[in-house]
Amino acid sequence: MSDYDRNLPGHDRDFARAIPIAQLLHLDVWLLLPVLLVICGGLFVLYSASDGSTATLMRQLRNFAIASVAMAVAAQISVDQYRRWAPALYLVGLALLVAVVFFGVGAKGAQRWLSLGFIRFQPSELMKLAMPLMVAWWYTKYGVPPRPIPLLGSLCLVLLPAACIVIQPDLGTSLLVAASGLFVVFIAGISVWYLLAAVGLVSISAWPAWMYLLKDYQRQRILTLFDPESDRLGAGWNIIQSKTAIGSGGWSGKGWLQGTQSHLDFLPESQTDFIIAVLAEEFGLRGVLILLLGYALIVARGFWIGFTAQTTFARLVASSITMTFFVYIFVNIGMVAGVLPVVGVPLPLVSFGGTSIVTLMLGFGVLMAISTEKKMITQ
């Protein structure tokens, strides 16, 4: 038994016993609790967003069940194993991404899926995990803080898969995958001067990218972001309706299942990307703040795990996963509120969808592997 246990006030024996069991299963309770909190709250919102469809709810529960198993399995693997397998995982992911470019199957004008006959999946999801592992492996190998040549190497590691995803085309995912790698570079301690230079470079290259790289619909998305009223019935419709949904919720909301915007189909994609608008409409700012608090707890725990991890690899991976998780939250919540372009990022743990949940929970599994290993070492 640890000192921590004995110092618990009240000597609650049941609770005191819970921790070693969790530890034995390599589960991090302080990460798990807010995650479950958000998931449970999210199910209520999803139930409403799907117009009370029990079928949707059951499918989402099934998704969570599969994802939880994945998380639990991921938590059992030692950090060292992750480090050793990182290059292989990355290469497989990259190969699959290249395969998507040539053999992918499409939906809505984009080729994102790879069909293996019996199952279809998105290699970009795999890359969301493989990327931070790989870059962390890189800096574990070449040292922290990054020096110029390894830095360039790591940038190549980041850009290669990102480029494959961009041409699918899936700008949003591409940016998020790249971000998960870049966060490792950041945590690794990249010089502030490099950072500033990079920001400058991106700003300068933004113009040609706007002109030649972006597709029409992507440009349209960004344009309507700045002036949604310009195209009320076209591209601006989604943003106007989601802002209306959020705004009309007020402080306390219209009540569960009472949201008119979502239930009368004014709100687009209400079960997936725009689900926070349903929450905001029905539970008000109150509900939004509680959700943000839940996310904040998860992020805080993630950073704590990264902060206290024993090895550089573990710190880099844990911090990057946490930051990437937050970026999902920020991009989605900001996009629905009309401050960021609509890029098609689901709200973590709340939006309906199988693949994204499994990836997220796998990420948490890795975090738990790191956190529990650290504790075992402490013991």
Partner: protein, 615 residues
């Protein structure tokens, strides 16, 4: 590689760098969370009211409920103009993402004509974007089913049940009822847009137009909750429309039918009215047309056919057709002669079969001359002049009266001015006078023209309904009412409107009416052939009016004259003579003469007197 692993590693420095960066990241996250929170605060607290209003506007919309158009029934309550339920396909523009694609999709499911699309784009300009705009009216059951099946991927498409006007008797009543048609651009600017928000149709002619306000009613409204696809989920608040009033007519459907059957293929008109209140019992103009064609937009070819037909089926001959009244004015003129003391009932003048003006060799011939080679008798008095329609008598009378006295005498009977019957497009005819000719033609009046007017020819024109009104004056011996089709609007009875009485000596009325009785009941009366088997008395007057001028010595030959140049035949009558219950006017256009008209009148009179009249 670049650096050998483990050689230069300082794990404490690495941890310190990492941890410092994690702290920076955490700070960034906190700032970002605060920004997000602020954004939601801004939307949900600061702009709450604005968005709440917006979401209410999304959810709830005010929809017009068109009133049900009033029915039109005949005197016995038989339905003459009905509303039948039909379904229309409507589109809510606001909900349609790609209009062109939607139309293509709809076209692949049901037939949508270019006409429909054109009207749609006309109509949508006057509607608000969240109002359903009708695209195709009167869907068939099959089309309904097809749209129903595909509706879930036709966002913005709705099916609307509405009532459409129908006229079960078609052409029989086309000129009485008129028809409704879709509101066109010109009309749209004249109607009250609020009251007509849910209405597609408007009375175009006939009773439908004349009583448009009464038939239409007042629009209602409802607040409805609808989803983004335009589907109505529930009604929140409803203000019922005030439906249009039912019109009850004086008209008797059976009598109208008799009139139509009696006229048969003969172009012409039949007007029957009750002299006791001016109520129109039958108003038939032949040929008619099917008013149902017009309700939802008549096709170009159908319309061209009606418009360009030489039989002018769109012309309502009863009120729009202007014809020389011919000898039918003789009773009125005779009465004027008596009142002016120019003749006495027993004054007789010689009748050689023609008449000449003093100092002029031109012969004004009597119609009898062509048939018998001489006049009606050696001497002719008023009674015989009416009964046998002696022209010479009236040439003489007219000359002695002068044109202005004639105009003055006939004006109180309503000739030369609209009767103001409650129907559209009425014409006023012509009652010529010196003043009229000077203002109209800038010419002086010639004495010979007076003689033509004396037998209802020349410039003189009258509509059948004007003559019916004039005959009503005679039948009632002075009193009369404005001819009216509508007896009751909703529950309110429309009071008959009396006209100024024509005052004349009772014996003068008696003398004129006696002459009219002889028209039928005297063996030498011009309509004596309909007297056979009569169970009641008829006072009548025949008339034959020339379509083209016949040169002085030309002999009129029916056979040689093109059908459309043949004379019009008239017969005006009332019955029974003592207590008149019905006035009938029959016009047989190019019928050759009155013999084409009086058998028709007899059948109408028989039907009314023997079967239909309730009093």
């Amino acid at each position: 590689m670049f650096v050998a692993r483990d050689v230069l590693r300082d794990i404490y420095r690495e941890a310190a760098i990492n941890r410092q960066r994690v702290v920076v990241a955490a700070v960034i996250v906190v700032v970002a969370l605060v920004l997000l929170g602020y954004r939601y605060y801004d939307l949900q607290i600061v702009d709450y009211q604005q968005f709440l209003t917006q979401s209410e506007r999304n959810r709830v919309r005010l929809e017009a409920i068109p009133p049900t158009r009033g029915l039109i029934v005949d005197r016995a309550g038989r339905l003459l103009a009905n509303n039948e339920p039909t379904h229309a396909l409507a589109v809510v523009i606001e909900r349609v993402e790609d209009e062109a694609a939607l139309f293509e999709q709809l076209k692949s499911l049901i037939t949508i004509s270019e006409d429909d699309l054109e009207r749609f784009s006309d109509r949508r300009r006057r509607r608000r974007p969240y109002d359903p705009v009708p695209l195709k009216l009167q869907l068939t059951d099959e089309e309904m089913a097809v749209i129903g099946v595909h509706r879930h991927h036709l966002p913005g498409v709705t099916l609307e049940a509405r009532l459409t006007r129908s006229y079960p008797y078609g052409g029989l009543l086309s000129h009485v009822l008129g028809y409704v048609g879709r509101i066109n651009e010109r009309e749209a600017s004249t109607i009250d847009p609020e009251n007509y928000r849910g209405t597609l149709h408007l009375g175009k002619v006939g009773l439908e137009r004349r009583y448009e306000d009464e038939l239409h009613g007042l629009v209602g409204s409802q607040n409805i909750e609808a989803n983004a696809h335009g589907r109505v989920l529930r009604v929140l608040e409803r203000q019922a429309p005030r439906d249009g009033d039912q019109l009850t007519l004086y008209l008797d459907l059976e009598l109208q039918r008799v009139a139509a059957e009696a006229l048969g293929d003969q172009r012409g008109a039949v007007v029957a009215l009750d002299p006791r209140d001016g109520g129109i019992l039958a108003l038939y103009s032949n040929p008619g047309f099917d008013p149902n064609l017009f309700v939802n937009g008549i096709s170009q070819s159908d319309y061209a056919g009606l418009r360009d037909s030489p039989d002018t089926p769109l012309l309502n001959r009863t009120v729009q057709g202007q014809y020389p009244p011919g000898s039918t004015i003789k009773p009125m003129l005779g009465l004027a002669g008596l009142e002016l003391n120019l003749v006495e009932p027993d004054t007789a003048i010689p009748d050689p079969g023609w008449y000449t003006l003093p100092g002029d060799s031109r012969r004004y011939r009597d119609w009898i001359l062509r048939i018998r080679g001489r006049g009606h008798a050696d001497e002719v008095d008023l009674k015989m002049a009416i009964a046998q329609s002696c022209d010479v008598y009236y040439y003489d009378l007219a000359r002695r009266m002068g044109i202005d006295a004639i105009a003055e005498a006939l004006a109180p009977f309503g000739l030369g001015e609209k009767t103001q019957i409650d129907i559209t497009s009425e014409q006023q005819g012509i009652l010529p006078s010196t003043a009229w000719k000077r203002s109209r033609m800038g010419q002086p009046w010639y004495p010979g023209e007076t003689l033509s007017v004396g037998i209802g020819q020349g410039y003189m024109l009258a509509t059948p309904v004007q003559l019916a009104q004039a005959v009503m004056v005679v039948a009632n011996r002075g009193t009369s009412f404005r001819p009216a089709l509508v007896r009751q609007v909703g529950e309110t009875t429309v009071a008959p409107v009396p006209r100024p009485a024509v005052v004349a000596d009772e014996s003068h009325w008696a003398a004129v009416i006696a002459g009219m009785m002889d028209v039928v009941h005297h063996e030498r009366g011009t309509a004596a052939s309909i007297a056979k088997g009569l169970s009641y008395t008829i006072a009548g007057k025949t008339g034959t009016s020339q379509v083209i001028g016949i040169a002085q010595d030309d002999v009129y030959d029916e056979e040689e004259i093109a059908e459309r140049h043949r004379n019009h035949g008239w017969f005006v009558a009332f019955a029974p003579v003592d207590e008149p219950r019905i006035v009938v006017v029959v016009l047989a256009e190019n019928g050759g003469g009155s013999s084409a008209a009086y058998p028709v009148a007899r059948r109408v009179l028989d039907a009314w007197m023997e079967d239909l009249s309730d009093v």
